[in-house]
Symmetry: C2
Subunit: 253 residues, 2 copies
């Protein structure tokens, strides 16, 4: 259930990759693919430095070299229908992602083009892992926080249109449990372990589906920057394997 | 107060531009710059076809050739703080936008990096122009729809951090009036006239600030695709001028 987030930051690259975004990411991918179910490239990190060609190359590389691993494009897109169609083309046609993260604020027609795309599937932002996530997500609507209304709509209406999951941060295990109770066995993308401080045991206990699984638990910086020396890929492998084992221990308990 | 949205769709280009995204957009920009206060490139339309280099070129062109016109990058970004920093770099450093549209769902720390950027200013999505916009934006929190809570937070807390405006669709003039009543003289970006059906007179009446202005009223497709023949730039100029005049008439009434 481990996912490694690919958030390349050239300022933190070890010298040995000579600043190459693709070489850095490829080394991480090759070192950790056996321990993960998904890679999650964060598109902002590529867009900030004009590295879209490297992102295309990386997505192709993962699909070809590690076809058993899913590509989750972390883009958090959300726009009116006609524009969402363009974003769906970006995610699925251009980058060949298996899934893309989307923002629910604009409502059903902003998500439909992703769901109706022939190869489309989405993770909808529900309760995010950041400090300000409660500012709007926790506002009470009919006695329930907004994020549970999002969860319910995804689990009912949107799941009938296409393949959906939800994003719920590991930093809030109680909320993770509430969301799981509403969405049945829909998959959950759970960021926030590692550098953001989420606890693996609490996360697995709160978020597993009826079979004990059903989560894609993401760690980015703790894996990517486990070492900033020539051994960075080995260090990433070690952290990824240890995290996978920790998840497995708690999932099988 | 007119803004022309740049949503290039090569399938709708006149033959004379030979499919060039930059040539098409430059012709529209040169034909309409005298009638607008802003251009709003919609990044999805560039990203879907891998045209980021053309978008860079276009933003540079506007800034250099039409320095009196603002560049509003319509990106609707929203992510956790460390990622939002990357998106702020994309919008302001890479593309040199004056303003960028952002999504409020992730809360204060997702918007702060844009507001704190040295050249940063944002339009926060509040009440959008699309059919599904009410799905979550209209949910009642303490007897008031969610979008008014967004408006209030932007007008208070977020405006103290940096320069803010709000996005409110022209397709909902009553909601536009409610938002204006809450946010004082903050600028409003108002999409939805033209192809989306919003009425200019009702929009200006509902959304103007205390001086009778304070809006950036966007039209995209009605201007861009006014003609699909060799006269497309002249046709775009005519629609832009007519729309500007219509806005002016109602603003000065």
């Amino acid at each position: 259930m481990l996912c490694v987030g690919l958030d390349p930051d050239p300022a933190r690259f070890p010298e040995v990759v000579h600043g190459s975004v693709f070489d850095f990411c490829r080394a991480i991918v090759d070192a950790t693919a056996h321990a993960v179910c998904a890679f999650k490239p964060q598109i902002a990190h590529f867009a900030a430095i004009g590295a879209e060609p490297e992102l295309e190359q990386l997505c192709t590389y993962i699909r070809e070299q590690h076809p058993e691993v899913l590509v989750v494009l972390d883009a958090k897109r959300g726009d009116i229908g006609s524009t969402a169609e363009q974003y769906a083309r970006e995610a699925f046609d251009r980058y060949g992602a298996h899934m893309v993260t989307v923002n629910p604020y604009l409502g059903t027609d902003s998500v439909e083009p992703f769901l109706r795309h022939p190869s489309g599937a989405v993770f909808v932002l529900c309760r995010t892992s950041n400090p300000g996530s409660g500012d709007f997500q926790n506002l009470l609507v009919d006695g329930e926080p907004l994020y549970l209304h999002v969860a319910r709509r995804v689990a009912t209406e949107w799941s009938e249109i296409g393949e959906c999951g939800l994003v719920v941060g590991a930093t809030y295990p109680d909320e993770l449990r509430e969301v799981r109770a509403i969405v049945g066995d829909l998959p959950l993308l759970v960021p926030g372990i590692g550098a953001q401080g989420g606890d693996v045991k609490a996360t697995v206990a709160a978020g597993h589906d009826s079979a004990g699984f059903g989560m894609v638990i993401n760690s980015s910086r703790a894996v990517l920057y486990a070492s900033n020396d020539a051994d960075f890929a080995d260090a990433a492998r070690a952290v990824a394997e240890a995290t996978r084992d920790e998840i497995r221990t708690h999932a099988l308990r």
